[in-house]
Amino acid sequence: MFLRDTLLNRLRRGCETLAYPHGPAPALPDRHGGALRLDAARCPLDCAACVAVCPTQAITRLPTEPTALDLGRCIFCAECVRVCPAGAITQTGDHRMAARHREDLVLGAPGREQLRLAEALGEQLRNLFGRSLRLRQVSAGGCNACEADTNVLSTIGWDLGRFGIQFVASPRHADGLLITGPVSQNMELALEKTYAAVPDPKVVIAVGACAIAGGPFRGNPPIRDGASPCVPVDLYIPGCPPHPLTILDGLLRLLSPAGIPASF
């Protein structure tokens, strides 16, 4: 009886995995805002309203240079969007935010109003990892939000396994690390050892504002302000935490030039 009920109920629920990437990506929550855009040309002279409200010092305005917004440091509180008198900083609603190079997350220079999205790994690495990427996750001071929204990718709703991506228990079985948290000093050694235990060639993915640049804890003495002082990072995924869709987009972008694996 019980077995029949369980199976029947399961059948009734049907397939719960989202249609993306065959279908359109699900919409972000309307108040999420997505990636930010900075049109520094619109900044009024002598205005530094955004600099004063930014909790993570993600915005700088030097006298001779255009305003700069570092999405790696940004926790997307959107305080700058609210105070900007000129509408120079705006929300794009775009969930795609992953970048391959740290400087690609810095907006403001002419032609760099939006972030430069990550390109795929080189052909050799793509041949190795494109259909099968095994990651070891290391939380190094993470608050459990980036961890939770990475974890959710393995649930039936997202089914990360269909892209050939899987989280594994041992770094020896992994092709790379996915790091969350600002890297607390107390985790530094464990992170370095885990990195060393992953066989070459390997990739490192920093998920969340903390892992990119320390996030809200930037400057606190017991942390290292992100993963890059400890290990070389190949992919940066901004957010606090990044939406699961943003993380998924980043992972897929790494594996395929189109952002969608060839097998799809």
Binding site: F2, D5, T6, N9, R13, E16, P29, R31, H32, G33, C54, P55, T56, I75, C77, A78, Q137, S139, A140, G141, G142, C143, N144, A145, C146, E147, A148, D149, T150, N151, V152, S154, T155, I156, G157, F167, A169, S170, P171, G181, P182, S184, Q185, N186, M187, L189, A190, T194, C210, P216, F217, R218, N220, P221, P222, I223, C240, P241, H243, P244
Partner: protein
């Protein structure tokens, strides 16, 4: 269960001048605290306040008298060097006293297990002496800090005879980010964001406690509509996490239907929080002085519909779980904790209620909207994994009913009011029943009205000891199941 009158009494979410907190010589202070604990008080927090000059320290105790809905605060006179450990007679003080030693160097004399709580002293948290059991058949198992899953780091050291765990010692501190140390001199621009990410799955509870403390220091409280919205967000946080826990517990006994379904439904609840404020964890919603995002009628209707669906789904997923004899066989009598143990170590939250203790801040020390609407306390007597799962299920149902009630009683008025500056030389306490249990924030301002000391106590700080005790006599293979049944925060403990 009434507090000793000598203490300064206050209710949750209020403040009082520092000068009105009675200061006793150390022996008398410890006697007073000890006597209160003996009479049924609970140690919500115990911490040191460094004097502005001279390097002396004062100890401050915040005691909760749950049955009389009262908090009691007292302090020692300034001292240096050592003090007799409370832990000898009151085990619930053991981590607090280790923390005082670690943070300020004051030595609790006679403490049976004095070692660091989270600092590394240059060598890494798990480097140092562990409690050891000797014998020919005894072996030691060390796990962590990096675990086999997407989970925060911590170190577990088991003393085993064959499969049986004789003793488990838990060494944390890997997640230490210096949140508490960053607050004096503040509030700073980053403070509210550090509080929101103190324990990322408890964003609403910690942000509400933080807001409560700052509002109490300013001699005001949040507008009613903000209190109402905070209660909605807090219960959504509870729903998401309890649902995730039921799924994870099912997963740990290889019962996949519930594990799969709850993994998704948890996300549905998180998306309802994102409907409120754009962030799945509720970041940016609660702010000192009120809330930052309005819940308009149209959005409320969407929230109501989404909640109905998610509750219906979780009802089904839970029914599979409770119907399965294989699940009951694994849950029952696993990881058992007696009510007397729970009381002795000061356990809080669902873990305490699963030992039959009626202990819930929403009921015992209601603030905000919980003063006007009540959630029944969910209790189960057995103290095992089954009880901890069962309490979560009861709380899911009651949080659902409570939310539906809230939706129909929306108060009008502003959502946010400008907050006056904090009063100088004032102490404020705010407790919030987060999904793991009691979140306790205590703030003390200096003569300029800036924060002089801010003490954060996450429920995990009380409860990790509970997990260690629950493991005694268990098969080591049941550790994941027992661990999940507590599901404690590493970063909330490590600060």
């Amino acid at each position: 269960m009434n507090p000793t009158p000598a203490f300064a009494l206050l209710t949750n979410g209020t403040a009082l001048p520092w000068a009105e907190v009675p200061a006793w010589p150390m022996p008398e202070f410890l006697d007073q605290v000890g006597a209160s604990l003996t009479r049924g008080g609970r140690l919500s927090s115990l911490f040191g306040v460094p004097m502005s000059e001279g390097g002396a320290l004062q100890l401050v105790a915040v005691l909760a008298f749950d049955a009389s809905n009262t908090l009691a605060v007292g302090r020692s006179q300034p001292f240096t060097g050592t003090f007799p450990a409370l832990t000898v007679h009151h085990p619930q003080a053991h981590l607090f006293e280790r923390e005082i030693w670690e943070q300020h160097g004051a030595v609790p004399q006679g403490h049976p297990w004095l070692k660091p709580v989270r600092q590394d002293h240059g060598a890494g948290p798990a480097v140092g002496e562990f409690f050891r059991v000797d014998g020919r058949e005894v072996h030691e198992v060390a796990v962590g800090p990096v675990h086999a899953g997407i989970i925060e780091p911590g170190h577990f050291r088991f003393q085993c005879a064959g499969e049986e765990v004789l003793h488990l010692e838990i060494a944390l501190g890997y997640q230490h980010r210096g949140v508490e140390e960053a607050l004096p001199g503040g509030p700073h621009r980053a403070s509210v964001h550090q509080i929101e990410t103190l324990a990322g799955d408890t964003t609403i509870a910690h942000a509400t406690a933080y807001a409560g403390v700052l509002e109490a220091l300013a001699g005001t409280e949040a507008p009613l509509r903000a209190q109402w919205l905070r209660a909605i967000a807090l219960e959504l946080e509870r729903l998401a996490n309890h649902t995730g826990d039921l799924g994870a517990l099912a997963g740990d006994v290889a019962f996949l239907p519930t594990a799969s379904a709850c993994g998704k439904i948890r996300g549905d609840f998180l998306n309802l929080t994102a409907l409120l404020c754009g962030n799945r964890f509720g970041r940016g919603l609660v702010r000192p002085g009120g809330c930052a995002w309005e819940l308009e009628p149209e959005r409320l209707a969407r929230l109501r519909a989404g909640l109905d669906t998610a509750l219906r789904d979780v009802q089904q997923a839970a029914a599979w779980l409770w119907d399965a004899t294989a699940v009951r066989a694994r849950f029952e009598n696993t990881g058992r904790l007696e009510a007397s143990q729970a009381r002795e170590i000061g356990l809080v939250g669902p873990a305490a209620r699963a030992c039959g203790l009626v202990r819930d801040v929403r009921f015992d020390h209601p603030t905000g909207w919980y003063r006007f609407a009540q959630v029944p306390v969910s209790v189960w007597p057995d103290g095992d994994v089954f009880a901890r799962a069962r309490v979560r299920w009861l709380e899911i149902q009651r949080a659902g009913e409570f939310l539906r009630e809230l939706f129909d009683t929306a108060p009008d008025g502003p959502l946010h009011l400008p907050l006056p500056p904090p009063a100088p030389n004032t102490l404020a306490v705010a407790l919030v029943e987060g999904w793991r249990g009691e979140v306790c924030h205590v703030a003390l301002t200096n003569a300029q009205g800036r924060l002089h000391r801010y003490k954060l106590t996450d429920p995990s700080f009380h409860n990790w000891t509970g997990l260690a005790l629950a493991l005694r006599g268990q098969a080591i293979s049941d550790f994941p199941l027992c661990n999940k049944s507590f599901n404690l925060s590493y970063c909330g403990f490590d600060l």
